[in-house]
Assembly symmetry: C2
Homo-oligomer: 126 residues x 2
């Protein structure tokens, strides 16, 4: 049987709120050495995702944006801790994305599943 997302997901999650400035998002991405920040509302519920790709897009569009909410993706592709990893991997591939927020039944972020984490499965072949 395939391993579950909970076995390989990252539990330390760095997030941001949509009212923060783009430059703050960039600083937080660097601090977390990550390409992906889930965007949470004041109740800790997932409302979007913002990535280094979105910041690069803002560099091209230059000056029209100020906050995370202006550049984030709102329709988030996500997973949950009990999802089989092959299903999660397929979500990454089909959407050409490299991370999935892991949410609980209340849509709170409990982890991140990144494409790099898939590498953890290669030590053991199931």
């Amino acid at each position: 049987q395939a391993p579950r997302v909970r076995e390989i997901m990252e539990r330390q999650v760095i997030s941001i709120t949509e009212d923060e400035e783009i430059r703050t998002a960039a600083k937080r991405l660097l601090k977390g050495e990550t390409n992906h920040l889930p965007v949470l509302d004041k109740d800790g519920i997932l409302v979007g995702i913002v990535t280094t790709y979105d910041i690069s897009k803002a560099v091209v569009q230059d000056g029209k944006h100020r906050c995370v909410r202006d550049i984030m993706t709102r329709k988030v592709v996500k997973t949950h801790p009990d999802e089989p990893v092959d299903i999660a991997a397929r979500k990454l591939e089909q959407n050409n994305i490299s991370a999935l927020p892991v949410v609980d039944t209340a849509n709170r972020v409990v982890g991140m599943l990144t494409a790099i984490d898939l590498g953890k499965l290669f030590g053991r072949r199931w």
Copy 2:
């Protein structure tokens, strides 16, 4: 036996040269819908890599940089077409990176192996 990099690598590669402006790199990343651009010299030899992460870093450092050469990573972690994918996956994990340029014996880029490509192996378990 493990599959080889050549079986899952992307053969369409978008690249850049080090004298291009950062904004040009950002445009090319968006055009390629990718986070990674190998940097090639005039002979097509790999000399670095520049990513959306590096562009985000430039946004934080604001104004000190102009060209790709000012922000690229010069010590590139790479792979070759005959490398077993589990070795390549481990390189991604150990370096916390999500893509490896695939080079031939002349250090020319013949493909890209991204962490998303690892997902292609999950349909079949070897």
